[in-house]
Structures are given as C-alpha cells and as structure tokens.
Symmetry: C2
Subunit: 110 residues, 2 copies
C-alpha cells in the first residue's frame, strides 16, 4: 500500500538492504517492527518492497515521520535497537539508511 | 544493488507504485529508463524493488540526484515524458512521487 502522508514538509527514512540467506525470525521481526512503528509518536506511514532472491534480494523500506525528533526516538526505541543489532549480526549482508526531508510530492490514481 | 552516493546533502526521488496487470512493454521501458537516467546530468544512482503480485505488487524506485535542477530536467526529458504518459494510461494503477533532500546517511556492511 502507498502510504497516505500529509502535505510536505515531512520526513522520510529510506532503508535499503541486502539480506543474508539466514531467515531465523526475520519475518516475525519485520512484522513486529511495522506494528511498533505505528505506535511511535510522529509516525506517518511505511512502504516496503523486496525483490526475489534472483535479483540480488534488494529490499527498500521507506518510513515517513513528522519530524527529525520522531525519527531519532524511533531509532532509539528499545525493542527496535535489539532488532537493529540482530539485523547486523544475522539478517543483513549490507544496508544503508538515508534520512530525508520530503519537500514536494504528487501522485496519480486511475 | 545499494547505490553508492556522495556525502549529503543530495536529493532523492521516491517513486512508489502499484502496477496494473498489463505488461505490454513495461519491462523494456523500465530498463530503458534506468539506462537513460544514467546519462542525465546530476544522476547519482538508483535502487529498485517490487513485491510479488500476492503482496499488492507494490514497487519502490528511489533515484538519487545532485540537485533539484537535475530532477526537474529528468522529469522533462522527452523519452521519459512518453514513459510517464504511457505509465498513467497502461502500467500503473496508482503511484506517488516524493522529492526529498537527503540530510544524513549511514550504512553497514558485513
């Protein structure tokens, strides 16, 4: 689902990752993190997609936030910190996180 | 592949879309647009992922750019304009484009 976000400015966290082939709780963690994010102050929405294994298994998750403060609080949320740590130890080959200010947006619907 | 981008600030275009079930040249167009983008002044890189049909077929493409001017020029590139038009007529159920300034980034590698 495309996230329903307010008029800019707001903030986006682009999290691009390549997975290892270790599953070991990854799916449960991913669902739990989305659930938790929804409870965070300033959370606006999230979009996520991952290619099939054959395509390098690249995944992109973009979460949207009201402010840099709300992003900082989410990064430091206790259960999320454990997931980040486990991610580095187990689930991710590599990742990059980009913190952005959304300045303009526009859309299309059939 | 995760895009190799310079130190912030730089710009990102987050293009989130849901496809129709019409294929009709979509794959060729997508490849051609990536090829064309690489030739544009100010282009820094692109990342793309799409879920399987069962998962709502959400796709996310993030392209990275040096400046708002380079994004504007890409949006107006002639062949890209035809692709945008055909996308609305044929390939996309809905999409959203968000223009962002990347303010900070950090990464991890095994």
């Amino acid at each position: 689902m495309i996230a329903t976000t307010p008029s800019p400015p707001y903030y986006a966290v682009i999290f691009t990752s390549v997975r290892t082939d270790i599953d070991d709780g990854y799916g449960d963690m991913a669902l739990r993190m989305v659930e938790l994010a929804h409870e965070q102050p300033g959370f606006l929405g999230v979009e996520s997609a991952r290619n099939e294994q054959t395509d390098g298994a690249l995944g992109i998750t973009v979460s949207y936030w009201e402010s840099l403060e709300s992003i900082r609080a989410w990064r430091q949320q206790a259960e999320h910190q454990i997931a980040q740590q486990t991610g580095r130890e187990r689930w991710y080959e590599t990742y990059k996180t980009r913190i952005c200010k959304v300045e303009r947006d526009y859309g299309f619907e059939q």
